[in-house]
Subunit: 215 residues, 2 copies
């Protein structure tokens, strides 16, 4: 069985959990308590030299890192149900949307980056909040614009079933709420998020429903 | 013909240029002078609401954004020569490596982030240099560890021909040098970079060989 190293609140681990659920894949969960620095311990960095979650052990000593690479591997090795469209153009739009979040928003809200801001750079709580609001809004406003441009307004980002874009959007919306960022004007984003909130795969992947959840 | 919106110094545009060259694809180049803020103008944001380069117009009003999504689209629509391996595990390793750079290093050295640091947060030149050194070293040290773990030491990251990992590594090494970050100890990284520097597709994609290059 696959062994998944994650943390309830990590949005990149949250993405993987949604995909496991959508594809009906079982996995053994190995919690990595980020708040205690477990990701920097020798046991974990032997698996993942980047000291970030998630990591996925897939057997025979092979370990996958980086959530989007894990999602693509899941899609290639367990194709049904698909989380990417059938034609290259749709797939490019789904991947582009996912990367707006994964490559431009999430890295700037990462725990280690926030620690650098408040620690090394001496930013105060107000400056940290302004940083988070600035970058989360910038990214989610791009998501809103991309959703508004769709030819057809589907319940999920790119179709009638959830896929890669939804998998990345929902954890980012969760983070925005957690950090107190106002996104009440982003109506397309909120409509997709509400649709996903009714889907069992998303409900079971929610941080509050994980064994390592702590309030 | 495809119309490519980029900037000579942008490492995400640099990635796309390498892939165009490897696959022998012609494109029309539309420069977006980031230093003048052209990416925030109405003409460009109509194409790309994120106001970042690159963007790729592929005809019939369709525009692709985000470099890794563009690279995957190129691979799916122009498969030969391949920039990803044949089996899911190799592809997952290549994508994971690429994302260490694209999702964890590059976003933190982006012009808009550096401007926020020195502008809004009032960081000095020394603090900006320390930020760059910290994040570029962290990412490239991970790349070094991943290369050191390969079962077989191939001339390129994952094989005898260049692929997605090399496409992301070379522009990041270029950025490290530009920002004065010492990476002289990262011998696996430097060996791959030197191999790529002898490859015509990489030479022609180099920032100094672009029509919009400015010293």
């Amino acid at each position: 069985m696959m062994r998944f190293h994650g943390y309830f609140r990590s949005s990149s681990a949250y993405r993987c959990r949604i995909a496991f659920n959508l594809k009906g894949l079982d996995y053994e969960f190995a919690p990595v308590p980020l708040k205690d620095g477990a990701q920097r311990g020798a046991a974990y960095t032997a698996l993942n030299p980047q000291a970030l979650v998630p990591s996925l052990e897939i057997g025979e000593g092979e370990v996958l890192i980086q959530s989007l690479a894990i999602l693509e591997w899941l899609e290639e090795s367990h194709p049904e149900p698909a989380i990417l469209g059938r034609d290259p153009l749709t797939r490019a739009k789904e991947r582009g949307f996912a990367q707006v979040i994964a490559c431009e928003v999430h890295p700037l809200q990462n725990l280690r980056v926030l620690n650098y801001l408040t620690g090394t750079l001496g930013a105060g709580e107000e400056q940290k909040a302004a940083w988070l609001t600035h970058w989360l809004r910038a990214g989610l406003e791009t998501c809103e614009a991309l959703l508004a441009r769709r030819g057809e307004k589907t319940p999920f980002c790119y179709g009638d079933a959830p896929g890669l874009a939804d998998i990345c959007l929902v954890p980012q919306v969760f983070s925005a709420r957690r950090f107190g960022v106002d996104i009440s004007d982003l109506t397309h984003v909120l409509a997709v998020d509400a649709e996903c909130a009714r889907h069992d795969a998303f409900v079971r992947a929610h941080p509050e429903n994980q064994p390592d959840f702590a309030a």
